[in-house]
Symmetry: C2
Subunit: 121 residues, 2 copies
DNA sequence: TATACCATTCACGTTAACGTAAAGAGCAAG
DNA sequence: CTTGCTCTTTACGTTAACGTGAATGGTATA
């Protein structure tokens, strides 16, 4: 069980950021008797997903769509098929991203060896 | 040689976006006699880098720092060393990103096989 | 139980990254 | 050379993602 400033410190943001995410429906922590927010371990993993999404340039709305979709109860064949469809699209996107990053890495390595070569003259 | 709306269409943005990037110093296209912007192939590659940066969640300021650094004339040993230092930092970042994305991919694949298993019952 | 420090909810402010509208000028086609 | 479209600058508007008080209330500790 964590307080809001615990999480804020852990993720390097302000409490306001966490409250804002709740305002958007990304989190729904429970409260104490006195009305204070308390966060569980599953809130922490949820937050990890959110920040990971941010690191890859997704908007908070897109992130919401993703975390909620993979979080709902996937009973019902139709729902399950839709989820699988969505998951495969996301998988393709991720694969493209990886390819692109690998290209970027090769480009940087190429530049680095060129610069180092110039330096040793 | 391209007009501003050529590039806008090619990259799926509005001319205003391209002008805004110029305003920030990300591009410096030449002009016709009448004052209209004309873009060369090297402007196109520059723009590709910009949009690639955006896809990975960098701000336009960070992108500017990167494209300008790798674009200047790298004479002078000191400048060269600074550039190499910077490049190695970026390389480490890119490698981290790749690792993270590979984890995401495994997670998605895990979820997909689980859902598909449930579907075939 | 007092006090010092958290927390809470408004509510307005800020910045990045453009959108949009107005007023004028370039330019290709007929 | 005029018509119609595209381009130019200027300038104000917009939205996402928070920042920053202000006023108030909970809570651990001396």
């Amino acid at each position: 069980m964590y307080t809001i400033s615990d999480l804020a410190e852990q993720f390097g943001v302000t409490p306001r950021t966490i409250r804002y995410y709740e305002e958007l429906g990304l989190l729904t922590p429970s409260r104490t008797e006195g009305g204070r927010r308390i966060y569980t371990a599953s809130d922490v993993t949820r937050l990890k997903l959110v920040f990971r999404g941010k690191r890859f340039g997704f908007s908070l709305d897109e992130i919401k769509e993703m975390v909620l979709l993979f979080d709902e109860d996937r009973t019902g064949e139709k729902q399950l098929k839709v989820t699988i469809q969505y998951g495969e699209e996301k998988l393709a996107e991720v694969n493209e991203r990886i390819c692109e990053l690998v290209e970027v890495r090769e480009e940087i390595e190429r530049l680095l060896t060129e610069f180092k070569g110039r330096l040793s003259e």
